[in-house]
Amino acid sequence: MKSVEKIINDIEALRPIPYTYHKIIEMTKNPDSSINELVDIITYDQGATANILRACNSSYFGLSRKITSIKHAIAYMGLDRLVNLIIVDSAASNFRRGQEGYDLTEGELWRYSVFSALIAQSLAEKNQQKNIPFIFTSALLKDIGKVILHTYVNDSFNEITFMVKEKGLAFIEAEKEVIGIDHAELGAKVAAKWNFSPNMVNIIKNHHFPELAPPDDLSIPIVYLADSICMMMGIGVGSDGLAYRYHQEVMDKLHFSNIDVQKTIADSLEKLKDVETLVNSTGGN
């Protein structure tokens, strides 16, 4: 077994979400925050402002006028779209590289993450959730642990796949068994290190274990379901494939039928264009 402490130390090699972005993400959770407060926070940080304006003006958005201020950006794109763009932009650099251990080439995990965040967002809207940008962000960052763990998965790949194929373990259970920590647990440690709220840390930690969600919580079931739908769609899925467990209680909690699953899959095809827009117009260097 690899030293888990050594793996956790690798978190230092990631690029933390800058403070301004972090504050924006946390602010969107608070219904009392005003647009003006948001604009003030962004404009205070010249680097963040420049990045956001660059992304807004990228050809992918096809806006007819050049966006010159954050206020303009909100007026033209709408607050939700802008917040999504800001969040995606802030996290991109960590996700873009390939993750050999999961057999994912450059950009694949990132596409998967953005796709799953967009599906989580639409499930959250359908379930009248108030904290939609928060759920979007949690879904986007939930696999950040894979960015670190993939080298260790690579070293122990045969052992892990043996556990999955021969012993019937889910891939994440095999990660824990062989390496001593799984990608969700590691991702939660990253989120905690970056000072995300305990709620988000909890979503990331339990995104494959929705049975551990508090009874009145829908955010973990939503992130779990969005993840499952992405796996079925196959966009950016790696060597872990679909080897994760099904949880009926999620479907009961969200009142989701098999037909709803199929309809969400059919609707998600259109979201693939949004994935390309977000991936291509955001940073990463």
Partner: protein
Amino acid sequence: MEIIIGVADMKVSNDSEAVLITYSLGSCIGLGIYDSIEKVGGLLHYMLPESSLDTVKAKNNPCMFADTGIPLLFKEAYKLGAKKHSIKTIVVGGSQILDQKGFFNIGERNFTALRKMFWRNNMMISYQHVGGNVNRTIKLEIKSGQAWLKISGSGYQRI
């Protein structure tokens, strides 16, 4: 020349330089067909079993569903000269999440839809690699009909 077939998409070709490829089949199905006499091939990547789920979407994009995509694939191959009796078929994909208790069984339903259509039309499956919980990629070379399967986590294998 590699021609990529996206999700809910298909291509047919008689160009000897063409290699058709579709990546990352989860519960979706990749159906490859090939007529070795006419050297015509096609590849379809469909997502869901039945078009009755959303007839508007099916009209706009027949390749989304088995029951609208599969006939279209064959029709387009016939237009390039392929003959039903000399067509070989390859079916891959249809994976499922573990213990899904019939709920996330889109992969199985996708494969069942194909088998029903094949049975009604006296079409055989020449090669299949379906089910389980792996992620697959399929590649078909038009000049030879040679196909390769890749399961994520391992390299391409000839089939």
